[in-house]
Symmetry: C2
Subunit: 312 residues, 2 copies
């Protein structure tokens, strides 16, 4: 019954507002690599979507050395209720990190939000905010595969370059350099926007509403600019929903999990043929976890942020 060191990222306290590195600590605990009869959990490790290898299993659906992805804690070894495992990993000819991104939760988010709620048609005009992020970069590429015109916004010139040169967006702009977002959108969408894939909320949404076309769709995936604000920015242009008969629909990725097999069938060939790229921002070692989390809210990540706890 091996007992091993188990490094963990813990929250010191309940956090309000944007998380700071000082809200988290790295501790060295230990864990017995044996499924216990009962379990008690008195600390508060952060959770995330991760890829893990099964060490021991009490659930007959999983066996030792199976690779799985789903919700895990930020630690080297986790006792995971099997309901938190989402899928067993069957295809290992692609990087395992992909199962935290393009083949994991962000991939399903982009796929379900864009295709199921966005209902894209060839030739339509698509705008994606936070476009170089884990989800946005895929939405843009799915839009191109569908024959749409797609423009992305991001927060640095480096991200804009990647959107245009590596990810195939038709256009991209740095929203921090646009004093008037409405004017920027009118420049890139003189005929208006059919689908806005919403990741940021606030002022961007307000400007988008002025530029939507009749019968437009807004899948609402996130509003990262508004999270952790004690008072969110007010959105003032919602009456456009009426005049333009817009459908705005929020969603959580779990509603699309039943589509996962269909999604893999769609995306794996594109990955293998190099028709879809995926930008990852990998931090080596659990010690880098707190800074990685904080970077998401300051826009410093480039692509899907991943903390590699152990080598493949």
């Amino acid at each position: 019954m091996a007992q091993v060191r188990n490094k963990q990222v813990l929250l010191k306290n309940y956090v309000t507002g944007f998380p700071k590195e000082s809200d988290m600590e790295i501790v060295e605990g230990s864990i017995t690599l044996k499924v216990p009869e009962g379990s008690s959990d008195v600390v508060l490790p952060l959770t995330a979507f991760g890829v893990s290898k099964v060490v021991e299993s009490g659930d007959p659906k999983y066996k030792k050395d199976d690779l799985v992805w789903g919700v895990t804690k930020w630690e080297e070894y986790s006792l995971v209720p099997s309901a938190k495992i989402l899928f067993k990993i069957d295809h290992t000819d692609v990087p395992l990190s992909y199962y935290t991104g393009i083949l994991g939760m962000p991939g399903m988010t982009a796929y379900g939000g864009f295709f199921e709620l966005g209902c894209p048609k060839k030739g339509e005009k698509v705008f994606v905010s936070a476009a170089s992020g884990a989800v946005g970069q895929l939405v843009g590429q799915f839009a191109k595969l569908t024959g749409c015109y797609v423009v992305g916004s991001a927060g640095s010139q480096e991200k804009v370059d990647i959107l245009k040169n590596k990810l195939g967006f038709d256009e991209a702009f740095n929203y921090k350099e646009e004093s008037n977002l409405d004017a920027a959108l009118k420049r890139y969408f003189p005929e208006g926007i059919d689908i806005y894939f919403e990741n940021v909320g606030g002022k961007t949404l307000d400007a988008v509403l002025l530029n939507m076309r009749s019968h437009g769709r807004i899948p609402v995936c996130g509003m990262i600019s508004q999270y952790n604000l004690s008072q969110p920015e007010g959105v003032t242009n919602l009456a456009n929903l009426i005049y333009k008969e817009i459908k705005m629909q929020g969603f959580i990725v779990s509603q699309f999990y039943p589509l996962y097999p269909k999604f893999l069938e769609f995306i794996l060939p594109h990955i293998r043929e190099g028709k879809i790229a995926y930008v990852e921002d990998i931090v080596e070692g659990l010690e880098g976890g707190p800074a990685a989390l904080v970077s998401l809210f300051s826009g410093q990540n480039l692509g899907k942020k991943i903390v590699a706890i152990a080598p493949e």
Copy 2:
């Protein structure tokens, strides 16, 4: 070729902000009751949905003495392009005024918005704002016919009484007497709201978003509290769309016109059997038109506001 007096309500100028009575004037023109070869229209009469009797027709689909409803000008006699006529009136055992309300545009608005976009199920909880208005009073009654629990908000005790005692709402409240709309909604919807039929926007929408249930629907019919404001109120709680996977969908009634025959089949029996009531607020004479319009924005109307230009 009879030439007759034709009283009209004209706009003196283009109006910004809330309309005032002084923005409009009643003029006595004249009109030749003969369809001209061409037509020119240099004045700006207001338009509205009205019921008219055909005096003469150049379109073979309509003949003298047909009753029709559709877009007409605010005047005694109108030269109407036949495309502006929406439907011929076939059922005259109900008041003709109903074709401006329960059997006209507001009826179709309530029907399409509630059933097609709201997708109500028996037992669901429904909230309607501007609930005693032309559309709201029908939405509430449709909700009751569907087996829903329905609460309406309105702006006076008299309206609240009508909602509860005449229109069959389960509950109703005067929003002007609630200092905290969120608390009011929690009182009437301890388990949350499944469908919010949106007529007002602004602060009401913000409070509703805090009280929606998972997978709720918000058909967006109007935002009357926000029209004509130079700066609309900001809505701050939109992130709830994500967490609660809410569908918020704006619409214009015309998308539902193809359903009109089906709608009549549904609603005429209910009217004839007295199972649906309809509150009208009729002003006699075109001279009362400007004040009637202004009253809509101050909340002084009770039910569907109608200007009767000529007796049936």
